[in-house]
Amino acid sequence: MIKIFLIGILLFLGAPLFTIIGAFALLGFSSIDTPSVAIIAELYRLASQPVLVAIPLFTFAGYMIAESNAPKRILNFTQALLGWLPGGLAIVVLSVCAVFTAFTGGSGITIIALGGLVYPILISEKYDEKFSLGLITTSGSLGLLFPPSLPIIIYGIVSEVSIDKLFLAGIVPGVLLIVALSSYSIYKGVGEKVEKHKFSFKKLFTATREIIWELPLPILILAGIYSGWVTAMEAASITAVYVFIVEVFIYKDLNFKTDLPRITKESMVLVGAILMILGAAMGLTSYLIDAEVPQKLFEIVSQYVTSKWLFLIVLNIFLIIVGMMMDIYSALIVVVPLIIPIAKQYNIDPIHLGIIFLTNLEIGYLTPPVGLNLFLSSFRFKKPITQVTIATFPFIIILLVVLVIITYIPEISIGILDFVGLN
């Protein structure tokens, strides 16, 4: 017991998470007299998962996109396409950040890479400072529900649910989040009399010509996966090759000798960090299931939580707290294996559960007092945390409303699977 307590303290003192999970796994297996080699045997099971290969490939591609001038091109294009709407620029910010986060996995990189680009434009077009700050902070984690987002892939691996189905299920809820936030932006845009732009074919044409090489990419991925022509892993490989050719040889944004080694290293550090946690968690999870922990948890939970609806409320609150305290990858890897067996008892579809998970974690990024995006924004725009928190508040409320809708109407997520006949 004292050991568990000590490890718990070390967790909050900031010991690397994979060592904390490893410590619990070692402790667990030794308590049932199983040699610790079992942990490694579980870790090695990872090497039998075909989708494992997609993780480094998508991460590599995402980092290349982030380091190139693609963010600027996406911004110009979206601005030419949607900028004429009332509150158009805000909608542009939301869409651009969502696309960007889908490709980069949303570890806060969106706020750092795109925030600095769009914040001055928002201010110069007379958007309220508070609104702009809240908008960017919120946008930083938007888009996690869209393919090829890494968190979806991780959820798929941990929950053993088909990634292709998850990619499909995320679309409508993801769009719903953006539409809800856009509506608020339009309302704000009309109310505050921000500058309006006229739609210009010429501008759209120039911006399209600029982005012509990157534009097919999302379509390629979506069409490829949804038509069943390629698997998620193959889509990852195609994306990596395509992005490499486009950014290095066509746009020449990235230099093969100077930029590529750095990008490779940076992206594989993230891959290593995620997979270390995943590896250790495979061990811990197998112990927890051996020890029937999910079953025992369910027995406790079911005493108080008598209906599916109540369970979903409790789950949502729990997940927002988790999302606030942990980064999204660890949260998924550690919490999902415990929740899935319980959710099954309440008849919750694991695909729907995944969408609930990801939406919650998206909101967790913004939740005071320690949500990551609040800190990133405060750091990036040199504003006090309290100011960022207050600015983000209306956006959190909107996201929470959408979360409730997504949670209680599973058809929003899984309806599309029936529609295309995948279920």
Partner: protein, 170 residues
């Protein structure tokens, strides 16, 4: 101290070059598989198994770099909330704990590679499975080494009365 630092520098170079090489192979072979499958109706039979084991290598190499620059994922609430003065001492403490766990995991994976896996087990093309998964104990070993090294460097800095935590090792 200097010797340790220069060993680590050489290690860093080797790891980096292996990473570049492996990522290139990963991209090339995975892409060739798609081309072969869709246009020539064939494939490299050992390709997929090889790629998954390659990812294992990439993961441990990436994690070894992460260990050096303090980029392993952690809950950093305390870093956001506690006064900075305690930073270095807490850091040394957590690094020592992390080193110990890596040591245990290294022993466990050593057992796994050399007692659980049959030395005669072939992964593909006459290559024994052992020679692929040897990266697990080696990987934990390198991470252990680097955690310890960071702890030593940090202690040395405290000894020299430098208490400020730098951003790159956090």
């Amino acid at each position: 101290m200097k010797l340790l630092a220069s060993i680590d520098l050489i290690l860093e170079k080797i790891i980096s070059w292996l990473l570049y090489l492996f990522v290139a192979i990963l991209v090339l072979i995975s892409f060739s598989q798609i081309i072969l499958r869709n246009f020539f109706d064939s494939s490299i039979t050992w390709g997929d198994v090889f790629l998954r084991h390659l990812v294992l290598w990439i993961a441990f190499l990436g994690a070894a770099i992460a260990a050096k620059i303090g980029r392993h994922i952690k809950i950093d609430i305390t870093h956001r909330l506690l006064p900075k003065k305690f930073g270095k001492i807490i850091l040394i403490f957590t690094l020592l704990f992390a080193s110990y766990i890596c040591y245990e995991l290294m022993l466990a994976s050593n057992d796994f590679v050399f007692t659980i896996i049959d030395p005669k087990e072939i992964l593909f093309l006459q290559i024994p499975t052992q020679s692929f998964i040897i990266i697990i104990p080696i990987g934990y070993g390198i991470i252990l080494f680097r955690f310890l090294l960071n702890a030593i460097f940090l202690s040395n800095e405290i000894y020299n009365n430098n208490w400020e935590v730098e951003e790159n090792i956090n």
